[in-house]
């Protein structure tokens, strides 16, 4: 029992030193990779956002109808089923309530 304890103490000393170096190396690696990553991202930042947004603006400019109130399907929905915006049916189907989530009990 005593012997084991002694070995353990000695091991832990050497291991922790090795471990320290390993952790240090991993830390440096982890730091090094994101620095390169951040730099390359900085150069190309916003590129994807802009390209995708342009795609949507293009979809808008190509559309036959460009305003929501003139969508024939929306008109049909209100006429045949939904009534009118903010009406009884809308209140029931298209609106919701929110939840104070600061203290919900499970």
């Amino acid at each position: 029992m005593n012997k084991k304890k002694h070995l353990f103490a000695e091991d832990s000393f050497f291991l922790s030193r090795r471990k320290f170096m390993a952790v240090g190396a991993a830390f440096v690696a982890a730091l090094a990779i994101p620095i390169g990553w951040f730099t390359s991202k900085l150069e190309r930042r916003n590129e994807y956002i802009k390209a995708r947004s342009q795609g949507l603006y293009k979809d808008d400019s190509l559309a036959k109808t460009r305003v929501s109130h003139a969508n024939p399907a929306v008109e049909k929905y209100y006429k045949e089923f939904g009534g009118e915006p903010l009406g009884h049916m809308s209140h029931e189907l298209l609106h919701t309530h929110f939840v104070d989530r600061t203290k919900l009990s499970s």
């Binding site: 995708r52 947004s53 929501s68």
Partner: protein, 410 residues
Amino acid sequence: MTTTTYQPGEIQGLIKINASKCKGCDACKQFCPTHAINGASGAVHSIDEDKCLSCGQCLINCPFSAIEETHSALETVIKKLADKNTTVVGIIAPAVRVAIGEEFGLGTGELVTGKLYGAMNQAGFKIFDCNFAADLTIMEEGSEFIHRLHANVKGEANAGPLPQFTSCCPGWVRYLETRYPALLPNLSTAKSPQQMAGTVAKTYGAKVYQMQPENIFTVSVMPCTSKKLEASRPEFNSAWQYHQEHGANSPSYQDIDAVLTTREMAQLLKLLDIDLANTAEYQGDSLFSEYTGAGTIFGTTGGVMEAALRTAHKVLTGTEMAKLEFEPVRGLKGVKSASVSLFDTELNQDVTVNVAVVHDMGNNIEPVLRDVMAGTSPYHFIEVMNCAGGCVNGGGQPIEGKGSSWLGNI
């Protein structure tokens, strides 16, 4: 008794860090709007579920692909597509059509609406464009805004508070619910387009499709991970409640049965051997694939505001906007604002409406909210989206190389 920020039945902890892959590099912390990521530099990180909005920004920006979603409906959707007694309705969000092509070798931002309709039709989906529901959202949310504006000008007792916030972004809604419950009355009560689409598909849609609502399985395709959490909110079973009130007797079902992210839809198509890039264009197969330009720009920051102004202008003045492109709310500035002066035919006077658009929420929303709390906000209508750039850069979008697009804030 344990307390949580979730309602019973909601998906908790949708976003998880894989401890075996995490290098503790802290990149994710730059993108978390609520500082929900714990762990020292160099040590494995973890996510505080109660603070997490499930927005997935950490996931798409992790350089080591160490962050994952815990819930996927992919297998369920495949089973439902194979089931002859079920009609699977695919609800396609605006931002998906300009990103899913990337997973099939097409260029970033390439508009693939027709191809996506074709590929999903081939997979067995009925096409329901969420843009249709976005148009519906404008009708409801825009009318609500005009109602509040008029009631405030007239000084009515029960006028809803201004500014009115948009309520389309589930990350933003959860942010207010967990941190600023006092401002919940300012949030528009209109459901998000995803939830409107689900409800309409199972009520009016059931009539149009001539089907029993129980046999309709709604799958939304979203650029957003937080939409999974939204769909699991227990109150979002309006179609079931509607049918119960009209004599039906069935176990409860949600308005949206399953949510797939853009990445998961690409995965599904690949599993079914459908190459979106080489699919013939398809027009859609019901009135629910009719949408407008206003509906489609919902997917980018400023789009909801622009769409709302187009309709508000028509309703208030009786005439269409001369130029539909409303430049002040476009672009990537953190907080964009504009003043619109118009002649209000109902009030018979000129009114000036001040609007603001906020995105990249974690970096930009706090000063705006402080003004609203203090009662000094100059704005009447504020659009908020959690992700930088809006839904086009959502947590469910394709990941380009290591990490997706972002606004540089380091």
